[in-house]
Symmetry: C2
Subunit: 350 residues, 2 copies
DNA sequence: TTGTACGCGTTATCAC
DNA sequence: GTGATAACGCGTACAA
């Protein structure tokens, strides 16, 4: 094994005493090579390690790769805002590599909106589609259509089971429920009463919330702790302000030591905490502005950061590396479950 | 402003009615261009946005960039182990971009070892040096020498002040002390007694530990909490096992509610915790194997993750992007202060 | 079955 | 001053 670093096709051709074309035919198994030449080239290839130069490859191959992203509108829910930053960043970084990104934006409260955007995107036949599978059934069907149309399929934020997806990036939601449970356990000791709150505009996040709930409950069961846990669904009613619904709810329940909010809406709860109420500890999700404000003022104890920006950035990077450099796509990747308190949030915000 | 995306020099030449060479001279300000041609080219450049193609650039420019890394031996302290993974990963990813990495390994307990490695590295005049400035004075002097020799200088893990460094990546240590303080505050309430432990083989980490201590104390002062805080330095004595020193220490102090270990040596403490002792809460630093073991068994409450792997990976990436694509180097960058408990550590370990 | 020549975009050199 | 041309490494079309 020689030690020189990067061999080119030209190098190999010289070493084997044949021409570049022959080497190329051997490497790409195009045939039309005499057994003698084949042997000579293979002999060289065995001794050295040949890796094609990805730079030269992508310079030559000035194909445009179209990647589409199906994601929710950020006006409806600021949780999605960082995703748009990630897209912009990727566009800047990879515009010269022939990467084009097209956004398909849908209303997170409307299944029809999702389906419609999905159809528009699919009609343009991009090379890959990255989507947030908020609506499970629709997303799964759509994923199947894409796979059939030979479009690479990736998801973030949620997972899809029972359907082959090329790349799935997100957080282990069950485990994040356990993380919250552990935090309460440390803060409250061996005995306490807790409430799990699924607060959402609509219930499109149902499976999302349930996985968290399950992880949360499982923790206490496994540790055999004397925790009393009740579960509530709070949904925005047609003409009633959300605040009113929550206020009413808080007055109606028997006081608890801790509240676990499985969505990014913990701030709605914190908003309603008055002096009169017994001030339970709140653990919620996501670094949206209003949550951070309450975290900084100790009205929220902890937030779990799902880092949607990183999810998008990573997903796109993986897809791009697949197209440009032929790196394999891992099927699924779980990102860290970041625990955030009033002292460490700033570094997560850039 | 036209809408076509990436203009090449050839495009510009055609639009301006001159040759590629002339356009090149205008763009690179090499002179030798008639005022008429200059005007024509500038007119085109004003209307479109020209960004040179970094791929073609680096294909042509097949220069090798040598980057040297001065970092501690991982045998002495497993904390550094992940850094070596990061280096390997970078080598794989960028070998085709002409990036060569050379390691200069030193003993973290020996100033001479550092100086010697530094000299060897400097003698080879790499394009950039990334180092861990464990020994402040020596590192600062060395940094000055590098800057004078026109070598790009980067640091990770610790910061250097009063000396211009091109890139500094690390964690805000003062703030990480505050994070630990906040965690104790949440676990222990408004009144408690704590001990800060600086446990180290030697004291090369002095400034490191002191910044954490300062942040920790500052938190309680600012919040005006009734916390009693004592500080201890525990150092490995020549012929006495560290365990014995720590055991003795634990028996000698008045019991406290919490122990804050400012180094990665919290496991040494946890090892000595017996049933008889009152079991104070321990918060320490770093995901080394022994710490994680205690974390998983609830002998350590929290660990703060400094992510040395990410620090190295990011530092090297920034340097490489500077060389290959001319991206500017930010002077300093603070990474997130990750809070780790028994439920979320696995995702941080890959 | 082979070798050669061309083009991708940039840069540097060399005639004109 | 200027424009044509070679070179970086790869893939491929085409000629031998």
């Amino acid at each position: 094994m020689l030690m020189k670093k990067n061999y080119t096709i030209k190098d190999i051709a010289e070493l084997a005493g044949v021409s570049k074309g022959t080497v190329d035919r051997v490497i790409h198994k195009r045939g039309k090579v005499s057994s003698k030449a084949l042997e000579q080239v293979n002999k060289v290839l065995d001794q050295i390690e040949y890796k094609p130069n990805p730079i030269a490859k992508s310079l030559k191959n000035n194909k445009v790769y179209n990647i589409a992203i199906l994601l929710p509108d950020a006006d409806n829910d600021p949780y999605w805002l960082p995703c748009y930053d990630a897209i912009k960043q990727i566009e800047n970084e990879f515009s010269h590599f022939g990467i084009k990104i097209k956004k398909g934006i849908f209303n997170p409260q409307s299944t029809e909106s999702f389906t419609k955007s999905a159809e528009i995107i699919l009609a343009e036949k991009p090379d890959a589609i990255l989507m947030v599978p908020l609506f499970y059934k629709e997303a799964k069907d759509f994923a199947k259509n894409c796979v059939d149309a030979n479009i690479k399929m990736a998801t973030f934020n949620n997972y899809i089971k029972d359907q082959k997806i090329d790349l799935q990036i997100g957080q282990d939601l069950f485990q994040s429920g356990r993380v919250a449970a552990k935090l309460f356990n440390m803060l409250l000791g061996t005995k306490a009463s807790l409430a799990i709150l699924h607060i959402d505009e609509a219930f499109q996040n149902a499976s999302h919330m349930q996985e968290k709930e399950l992880g949360f409950k499982t923790y206490y069961l496994q540790k055999e702790l004397d925790y009393d846990i009740s579960v509530y669904n709070l949904k925005k009613e047609a003409k009633i302000p959300f605040k009113k619904t929550i206020d009413h709810f808080l007055k109606s329940i028997t006081p608890v030591d801790g509240l676990f909010v499985t969505t990014s809406k913990a701030y709605l709860l914190a908003n309603c905490m008055t002096e009169s109420f017994s001030k339970p500890l709140i653990i919620g999700y996501d670094l949206v502005a209003e949550n951070i404000d309450h975290l900084a003022h100790d009205k929220i104890a902890f937030l779990i950061h799902q880092d949607p920006k990183k999810q998008v950035y990573l997903s796109l990077t993986k897809l791009i590396e697949y197209f440009l450099f032929g790196k394999p796509l891992q099927e699924s990747l779980s990102l860290p479950i970041d625990i955030i308190n009033s002292e460490n949030y700033p570094q997560y915000l850039k």
